[in-house]
């Protein structure tokens, strides 16, 4: 791999910019979980303050036992107060993650809702462009990956701002020199961590592209394994995978070395600060120091500040540990945002001010449809009256399906208007008035009955049965041990194409819509099934307006009106 500096730089910058967008979005999501975040922070703060009190009590106890040699009986109240502090702190240790969890849970719930709404906005043609497995991964795993950012990272970030300052305020009046030690080393730690962080960023920058290319290597070759095998390269690839893994390890370690250095620095400074405090108070106790508050320091005061010294750096160390929660959330939000950011394909650009008037049931007025550069339909004018039996004919790819999608409100025309009963058509409206059976009807997990009653789950058992009989579902369900209650699903496993079609027809029949739209209803059937189905269709939808897209001559024959779609126009 030959990568130039500029390759890396551009790729890194692109990712940096994206990361920023994701970070802003994450911050914005925190708003709805404010209450729980603050509760979690409160638990953390109370715990931190308790540590201060505990240190004071402990320092006193040791002084009393060791120096003043007081009997334990006298000290019982202090021991009891220690116990109370421990209980309160345990409660805080419990409450902190529990409140944090609620914050994360609320955000996750809301993001899931946003995704569901977004799917609706995008419409079926856009959804079909994605693998549903990977979309489902976004709504489940990726959304879950946000949890720790809100439950751990954000509260900890706030604690870093509060607790060290609290300790400083307490220590200052007792021992200003120790306070000054904290005051100097604290910002120094942050400064050096930032410096090392920059070093890490530049190390990452130098190897970013190479690393990101290598990190997906294994999955890439795994998914292409059958192709590799087809070309007889599977065994050769094995050694490549090893080489790549070693390269990846070396490059990652180069970056990690610097990242670890940053936490080593944190540790180093906190150790230095603790050591400085220890030496200062220690020498003070030995009367070796003749300046500052250490001159007459007691063991109690010395232990108190010494116990607080590591606590001063604790929140920062914890934040460093939680830092990868942020990285994980950023990665997940990238995938989530990729969906949420997408402009809905065909939102209503309701520019029609004057109320259109039409006496037709369905009317297409100067309708055109373009996808990017490709024009599918040009200037379609078409009207359909109640009760008509229409066959839409034409080659596949001629635009029949697009025409139907427009009629169903799944897509919006690029120009022109589609009217349903004289009003500009919306998806909701057409869902109420049109029953549609697509080319490949989807069978949901559940019983056959549930699948028939999709549009009207509250339909009575008799009506469902009636629809099942009318569409010929009962002809095969009677052979199943559980009849209409038989469980089906996963692409209608166990059902043949013809059986699926019948369930779809029963679905449409139960809906009692005025308009019935069928898209290639006979495509998946052999001749005998086809004849049966046509008889059923004829029977079921005698009264309704029927629109069938087809290129089956048998179907065309039984329809009274033929509309030919070819090269984006109709005739």
């Amino acid at each position: 791999m030959h990568l130039t500096e500029s390759d890396n730089q551009t790729y890194f910058d692109k990712n940096k910019a994206r990361e920023k967008i994701c970070a802003v979005w994450l911050k914005a999501q925190a708003k709805i979980a404010k209450k729980w975040l603050y509760l979690a922070v409160s638990a953390g703060v109370i715990n931190g303050w308790m540590v201060i009190i505990q240190s004071a009590v402990l320092a006193y106890l040791l002084q009393a036992i060791i120096i003043e040699k007081l009997p334990l009986i006298v000290l019982m109240p202090y021991l009891w107060s220690l116990v109370v502090i421990f209980v309160v702190r345990s409660l805080c240790v419990y409450a902190y993650p529990v409140c944090g969890f609620e914050a994360g849970a609320q955000v996750r719930s809301s993001v899931r809702q946003q995704l569901f709404t977004q799917f609706l906005k995008q419409g079926p043609s856009e959804i079909k462009n994605h693998q549903s497995g990977s979309l489902a991964t976004v709504t489940l795993e990726q959304v879950d990956a946000l949890e720790h950012y809100f439950s751990r990272y954000l509260p900890q970030q706030m604690l870093v701002a509060i607790l060290p300052i609290s300790i400083l305020i307490v220590v200052m009046p007792f021992n200003w020199i120790v306070g000054v030690i904290f005051l100097i080393t604290g910002p120094l730690v942050i400064l050096f961590m930032a410096l090392v962080g920059m070093g890490a960023a530049s190390a990452t920058r130098n190897q970013f592209l190479a690393m990101s290319r290598m990190s997906g290597y294994f999955l890439d070759r795994l998914q292409g394994l059958s192709t590799l095998k087809l070309f007889g390269l599977a065994e050769t690839e094995l050694s490549n995978i090893n080489t790549m893994a070693n390269g990846f390890r070396e490059k990652t370690m180069a970056v990690l070395r610097i990242a670890f250095l940053s936490s080593a620095i944190l540790e180093f400074f906190s150790a230095i600060a603790v050591a400085l405090v220890a030496v200062y108070v220690g020498l003070g106790l030995l009367d070796q120091i003749h300046f500052g508050p250490a001159v007459h320091i007691s063991l109690q005061e010395a232990l108190f500040v010494l116990l607080l010294a590591p606590e001063f750096f604790m929140p920062l160390r914890q934040l460093a540990i939680n830092y990868h929660d942020r990285a994980a959330a950023l990665g997940a939000s990238d995938a989530i945002l990729a969906i949420l950011e997408k402009e809905p394909a065909g939102q209503f650009t309701s520019i029609d001010i004057q109320k259109p008037s039409s006496h037709h049931l369905i009317e297409f007025i100067h309708v055109s449809k373009k996808y990017d550069q490709r024009t599918v339909l040009t200037d379609i004018n078409l009207s359909i009256e109640p009760g008509e039996k229409v066959a839409l004919v034409g080659e596949s790819g001629a635009g029949k399906t697009t025409l139907i999608n427009l009629l169903l409100g799944f897509e919006q025309p690029t120009t022109g208007r589609v009217l349903l009963k004289g009003e500009t058509l919306t998806q909701t409206q057409s869902a109420q008035q049109i029953a549609w059976v697509g080319q490949s009807t989807y069978i949901f997990h559940g019983s056959i009955k549930d699948n028939i009653a999709l549009a009207e789950p509250t339909a009575s058992a008799e009506r469902i049965y009636e629809a099942a009989v009318a569409a010929g579902v009962t002809e095969f369900s009677i052979h199943l041990s559980e009849g209409l209650e038989t469980q089906v699903g996963e692409r209608g496993y166990g059902l043949s194409g013809g059986q699926v079609q019948r369930i779809a027809l029963a679905r449409a029949f139960l809906k009692k819509a005025e308009i019935i739209v069928l898209d290639e209803p006979t495509a998946n059937l052999d001749d005998s099934n086809k004849a049966l189905l046509l008889a059923v269709i004829n029977q079921l939808f005698k009264q309704q307006t029927l629109i069938i897209a087809t290129h089956d001559p048998l179907v065309i024959k039984i329809m009274s009106r033929h509309i030919k779609v070819s090269q984006g126009g109709i005739s």
Partner: protein, 562 residues
Amino acid sequence: MMRDCWFFLKLFKPYTMWLVSGIILSLITSMAAITLLSLSGWFITASAMAGLLSIDGNVLAFNFMLPAAQIRALAIMRTLGRYAERLVTHEATFRVLAQIRSWFFQQLIPLVPGRLALMRSGDLLSRMTADIDALDALYLRLVAPVFVAILGVTAVTIVLATYAPIISIANGLILLVAAVYVPWLFNRLGNEGAERITVLMANYKIRQVDTLQGFADLLANQAYERYSVFLQQFSDRMIHTQRQNNCLTGISSAITFLLSQISFTVVLILAGLLYTENQLTGSEVALVVFCVLASFELVTPLPQALQMLAKTQKSAQRIRQVAKLKPTITEPQQILLLPQSYDLQLSDVCFRYSDQQDWVLKNINVQIPLGTKLAIVGASGSGKTTLLHLIMHYFDPEIGQVALAGYSLSQYGSEPLMTCFGVLSQRSQLFATTIKENLLIAKPDATAKELDAAIKAAGLEKFISYLPEGLNTWVGESGVKVSGGEARRIALARLYLKDAPILILDEPTEGLDSETERDVFQALSVFATKKTIIMVTHRAAGLSLVDKVYRMEQGVLRDYHL
């Protein structure tokens, strides 16, 4: 279950040195931290007591230089130790992961493509890579902390015993409860919830996929809202279960914390009593108390480690399940050399994916001598692609046989057999590497001239001329995005380079615009004149390429007349 983890631990063997050094460094660091705190407590108290004495007028007899130096040394040791420990443990983890990856890849080779074609492979494989990554926890979060805890606690207990056996025993017992009983108890309590969440997640995923795949049907039936409300409720149920699990974790860490504080208080009281009885000096009291306070850091990672264990076990189990699958075909004992002629013959071929399922192919009889050009049309799910898979020997037919030059396919080795077939399908697998490397997969030793010819034949010159780096342009995730049409052309160029006698075309132009479709068929008609073509399609275009068309109807192959 534990057996699965154990199995992977055995794979770690070549890296024992790394793993052991990681644990030793980690132990040194922890011990340095504990000693540091104990020594500091001792030092301060000793100083205070020496200071008191000097106020009384005695000569200062306390040598503070040595312990102060020791404290500095320990502080540096802790910092450096932590740094070195992280480097070594991560290095070890990466090495181990690389080992597991190549092991897994090797296990998978015989399963591809037959066995894996039966699974939703894309999803499964990304799951697998995540599972393998999850195994890094095995060492980093489980093995290392457990070893460090055992050794560290033992050391602390022994050292404490030299000062005050009773304190050592008290602290040791409480540590034992915190390190063994609490993690064990909460692992048991949490088991049900952990299992429930896995089930809920799997079910949620099924519903979610259902909702997305049946999206149009839901919209048209005004049922999307109902379904999304249902999903939201499902999500709430998952979150509720996670909440319960999280509460348990919270309780367990609160209890561990409380135990550490109880131990501390008990030790404080005991030390106070021993002090009044002159069994401990004042500075030793501080040493012991601080040592106990620090020793709990050894066991804090354990409850989490045990929770991790359940997850890691699941991952290990899943990986092993896949690795344990049997290939769909077995290599013959005596491998037949590839024949000179490439005539295919299918006689009475019947096939189904399992005994419980319906027949996918019913009694197929067809002769395909070299140079035959045939197409199979039919609805999706009628068995067309399965037939292609049988011809390429992904599976053996249940009844009948597929023969090449008169011998059953099962008598040839699967790898040499693959050299007979060139495949173009609706999924053109591009690898994340350069365009050139992607082409060379078909013929690793191809000359520049051959590459040029292939590029020309596939109509790729224009696309490549637009790229500043030409053939060396990287494609995929972190490179140039390649459109579906361009990917298909690259696959076509591979087909050209491989120059196999039998071309398998599975919906070769599905999803392409009409211009690319025309180009693909044009190219095929030129270079495939002497080759066998077996094409599956449901489009009319391309049928001009073939001499004979069959129609597949629910597993039955029939003649078809246009």
